[in-house]
Every structure is written in structure tokens, then in C-alpha cells.
Symmetry: C2
Subunit: 135 residues, 2 copies
Amino acid sequence: MQKKAIVNKLRSSGLRPTKQRVLIARNLFERDKTFHFTVETLNKEINKKGSDKVSLATVYNTVEAFTKAGHIKQILTSKSKSYFDTNIKSHHHFYDEDSKELTDINYNQVKLSKVPHPPKGKKIKNLEVVIRLQK
Amino acid sequence: MQKKAIVNKLRSSGLRPTKQRVLIARNLFERDKTFHFTVETLNKEINKKGSDKVSLATVYNTVEAFTKAGHIKQILTSKSKSYFDTNIKSHHHFYDEDSKELTDINYNQVKLSKVPHPPKGKKIKNLEVVIRLQK
DNA sequence: TTTATAGTTTAGAATTATTATAAACTAGAT
DNA sequence: ATCTAGTTTATAATAATTCTAAACTATAAA
């Protein structure tokens, strides 16, 4: 993804393309593989190189803004820390209990043949499967 | 569940049936419905009545011990707080994004017709589906 | 262009969730 | 009854996140 595309992406979701947001967005979206991260890991990534520094508060703000805009998505975990994923397509995860690592599972590798009706007045927004692994 | 059964449950998992553990266990397991909770909510429950007080640290310790023993299970969420469930059977959840509430879905209301092979050397420990709801 | 202003960033404080510590206590074996 | 390892407790420490309010900036309008 080129810088121009990044800027458009931000603009299209009502976010001003500030220096900090563009920097974070490039770090997130100019990758080959999808990226699983916490605010802490992203903050380290962003601030390690001699590059321009971004404050931790801004990393928090930006991650929240990107999540609301649907550019990244929050992952379901059983930890007291928030995890995010640059893969926003409907997909599922392996969670390895030994290594504590998350891996994507392609959407078409899981098929549900029966799903309950949502309660009245509610719609299904999405559906995620987490498969816990052990040795 | 009677007190004696509670005591056995604790003993069988190598936990001494102390006053505090029995109190917490009764609060958790002598319920009609399954119970979704955080340490904070459980702590309030336990300590509200004029009954014997249990320290917050003990509530944390006990919840951890019960989880390890498999008497309760940790729920997958996208929050920076740990949620637990007294329903340890394989089952799934609705997560209502508006009210932030979790509801159990019976195991047999969800059917998977295709599940990926686990990576080499790993076994599937369990599989959980979370259905996110919106208005 | 300047200028005005709403949106954004920032350091640091405040809050919330959890884990660690080490002294006092207790269940259960001897 | 006594001993001891396991447990509880208040409190401190740490970790994750949110808040605050002052400084800064993108951008729309003059």
C-alpha cells in the first residue's frame, strides 16, 4: 500500500492524515503478512528506529480510531491485554496455549452448518472461532 | 450442590477446603443458572452481605486455582479484563456489543462441518465460537 | 497566503486490573 | 497437642489503559 492510498484510507474514515497516523498506518498496512499486535508491541515497533517518535498516548488513540474505523480488528483472547489484527476479513484463530501465539485460520477452512438465531432485535455482526491448541 | 459435594470437589483437585474457598465455591456453584463474572464482580458478591469477608487477593488466588482445576473457565473477550464462566462444558457465546453482555449458546445450537487440522505436534484442546451481536 | 479553529498530540497524572511479598494463620498429618 | 506446608491477608508493586489540559497542526475560509 502506497502512502497516497494510506492517506485516502484515513481521509475516507474521517481521520486527518497526521504525521503520526500515517506513520502508524504504514507500519501496520505495508506488510506482507497480517500482523497481530498489542499496543505495547506496536509502540515498540514504531519507536525503535531512529525515526520520528510517537507518544504512547497517540498509539492508544490511533489504535482505537483505526479499530472504530474498521481498519484493524480486536481479537478475542483470555488475557488482560488487548490484541489486534490487521486482517479484518472474517477469519478465525488458532491459539497455542504453550507458546501463547495466535495464528490466522482462513475463513474457508472453517464451515458452520448450524448457527443459532440472534435474540430479537439483534443482528449478527460477526462470528469468530477460536481453536485452542495444546501439545 | 451441597456443602459436602463442594468440599469433595475441592479435595479432588488438591485444594484444601478452606473457609474462604468453600464460601466462594458455594457462591459460584450453588446457582441455577451459569454465571459469568469478573474477579471484581465476584469479589463484590462475596463481600456484600454481612457474611465473613474474603480478601481481594484470595478471590484472585481462588479464581486462578479454580480455573486451573477446571471448575470454571475463562471466557474469550476483547476487553482488558478477565471474564470467567461457571459453565465449563464446551459451549459458545453471544457477545452483545451494545450491552456488553455475554450469553451462553448451547453446544448443540452450533455445528461445525469443517475444522482445520491442527499444526503438527499440536492437538485441539477446545473450540469456541463467539457471535457478536448488534442492533 | 494568513488566520481561525476544530481536531490532534503529548507528557504526565490518574485509574483500573493484576501480581508479588512476606507475615500471620490454619487444615490436616503425625 | 504439635508441626508444617499450604493458605490468607493487607499492602506494595507492576502493568494496562484512560484522562487531562496545554501545546501543536491540518485545513477551511477569508
